[in-house]
Subunit: 96 residues, 2 copies
Amino acid sequence: MRGIKLVAIFRVKKERIEEAREVFEALIEPTRKEKGCIEYELFQDMQDPASFVFIEEWATAEDLENHRKSGHLTSAREIMNSFTVEKISSTYKLIK
Amino acid sequence: MRGIKLVAIFRVKKERIEEAREVFEALIEPTRKEKGCIEYELFQDMQDPASFVFIEEWATAEDLENHRKSGHLTSAREIMNSFTVEKISSTYKLIK
């Protein structure tokens, strides 16, 4: 059975693209070690380098909730808020 | 080497959710047979059933371009435009 898909698009301040990329990248290793983390990948928009997307899949809602409370994400949140202009994020269930 | 990721979020008219779902689902089988189609999955938003996302991966830009011109997508475009309220779509390159 497939898990919970999460798509999170971040548009960041143009002058802080590199910094944002580093902060996002730093989340990847610790997150992939978390319980129930099926997929956690970071992409950069090919037309707009200030736009990034995390595509994630979590085994259960509880695993995703634990991720949201994890130390590495919590400690990165403040700086992420400081450079993020727009965030479009939601969770999805597979249809096919 | 990873391909070109495409994330396309569709928010559809509330009264046409089922119709939209059927139209989107009908694209899946023919699309997965196309050259260079690495991934082509349809998901429904867990909070807002009127929101769907296609998460796709294409081996090359040419394969994606051919998909955009494919018969099944071209013929579905008019009806998709008729029930789509908002579309957020872009192509991405993997960072990590």
